[in-house]
């Protein structure tokens, strides 16, 4: 056997890969943020505008320094913005969090890659919110539905961004983002199951409420759509009037 110290050094070097994936790191970062905000709320402390600004800045610094632009200042208008960061669905500030703050963050992303990374952060947040509500026994049917729709919306946006990266042949980014997204889903496997089950029950409930007339109407609509498709395909043949026009001009 070689020198033990040498083997240990080699082992240390070879195991440097043993670290969290970007998705895992982001997930536990979000969890830590949630914990710190909760601890502050319990202590009756209100983090100021500067705090939010700094954390926000710190987040974007890692992605691209050029992000530190004027729109950031617009997003951080008041201390309320910070309070909204920890708001859970059902809280009046929650709308501000997802419709304003996160939209501003998305607006600051300058590439599809950055937007996709942000979408993964937001997906993770939605699922953490669902888990936090479930822990507090506050995850009502309505909130499950709301969170599921947000989760689906962000996932769909992410898929679009990944598709455009595929079109740009940015294979490394596509692989990284797919893997990151898969890991995020795995981390929240249980709560996703709960939200999906609620959604499925809802859809089935809605379907059973449908009247027979509606049910009959649906295939008819599909048929119409099929007919329309056929018509569109045939249209060029039916409509080719150019020779006639030329004849009239003459």
């Amino acid at each position: 056997m070689n020198d033990i110290e040498q083997i240990l050094q080699d082992l240390g070097g070879r195991t440097q890969k043993a670290k969290m994936s970007p998705a895992e790191k982001n997930h536990y970062r979000n969890k830590l943020m949630q914990f710190m905000e909760k601890a502050d709320a319990a202590a009756g402390l209100k983090p100021s505008l500067a705090t939010f600004s700094e954390i926000f800045r710190s987040f974007f610094r890692k992605m691209n320094p050029a992000f530190l632009a004027a729109p950031l200042a617009l997003a951080i208008g008041t201390g309320v913005v910070f309070a909204a960061q920890s708001a859970l669905p059902g809280n009046p500030l929650y709308g501000l969090k997802i419709n304003v703050i996160e939209q501003v963050q998305t607006g600051l992303a300058v590439s599809n890659y950055q937007k996709a990374k942000l979408d993964i952060v937001f997906v993770d947040r939605r699922l953490l919110e669902a888990e936090a509500l479930a822990e507090q026994n506050k995850l009502t049917g309505e909130l499950k539905h709301e969170l599921y729709l947000h989760f689906e919306e962000k996932s769909a946006e992410l898929m679009k961004e990944i598709d455009s990266l595929k079109n740009d042949h940015d294979d490394a980014a596509v692989t990284e983002l797919n893997s990151s997204f898969d890991q995020t889903l795995q981390l929240h496997d249980k709560i996703i199951g709960v939200l999906r089950e609620d959604f499925r029950t809802r859809v089935e409930g809605e379907a059973s409420k449908n009247t027979p007339a509606t049910i009959i109407k649906e295939p008819a609509q599909e048929l119409d759509a099929d007919n329309r498709k056929t018509q569109l395909q045939e249209e060029p043949a039916v409509l080719s009037p150019l020779p006639q026009i030329e004849t009239e001009e003459e």
Binding site: I4, I7, L8, A18, K19, T51, I55
Partner: protein, 174 residues
């Protein structure tokens, strides 16, 4: 003023997480051989440290403090539940942290590493700890001294003794 202090704690702490979370995760993962447990203990290390700092306590060296908290948590967990064992090469490969090997030199290296890891898990915890800190976490004797609250010289001696102990255990095996 108090509010300002609170703000800077949060900001600094997020930066601390970004800087050290991988190191703490790796250390705990290596010592427990359990990826899920490593996530939990890493997270708990940061939340406990945050509460400690927020409570007004001063931390002179955050890296040393985080390792200390992580080690204490592992000891507590070890008392409550099962004793942890060091990660194995097989586990590292399973978790995707180590590539497979093909050529004969690498296979030889792998066998050596496997034996060393196995025997490292059999030596007393105090020796095991300094070896992991020194060779896996790649910390200097000075940094280890801060974590363990001992002098740098004492740590150098401890590393030397730990290697001797490990060598002896391997020779007995051979």
């Amino acid at each position: 003023m108090a509010n300002q202090s609170n703000n800077s704690i949060i900001v600094e702490f997020i930066n601390t997480y970004d800087q050290y979370s991988d190191k703490i995760f790796r250390h705990v993962y290596f010592r427990t051989g359990d990826r899920e447990k490593a996530f939990d203990l890493m997270q708990e290390t940061f939340t406990k440290t945050f509460l400690y700092i927020k409570g007004g306590a001063k931390v002179e060296n955050i890296q040393a403090f985080l390792y200390k908290v992580a080690n204490n948590l592992m000891i507590d967990e070890g008392k409550k539940n099962q004793k942890y064992k060091l990660v194995s090469l097989e586990q590292l490969e399973e978790d995707g942290f180590m590539p497979g090997v093909d050529d004969s030199d690498e296979i030889k290296q792998k066998i050596d590493a496997e034996t060393v890891l196995l025997k490292l898990g059999q030596i007393p915890a105090q020796y095991q700890q300094v070896i992991v800190l020194r060779y896996v976490d790649e910390l200097s004797p000075k940094e280890i001294a801060r974590i363990l609250g001992e002098s740098e010289n004492a740590i150098r001696v401890k590393i030397h003794r730990s290697l001797k102990q490990l060598r002896k255990t391997i020779e007995n095996h051979e």
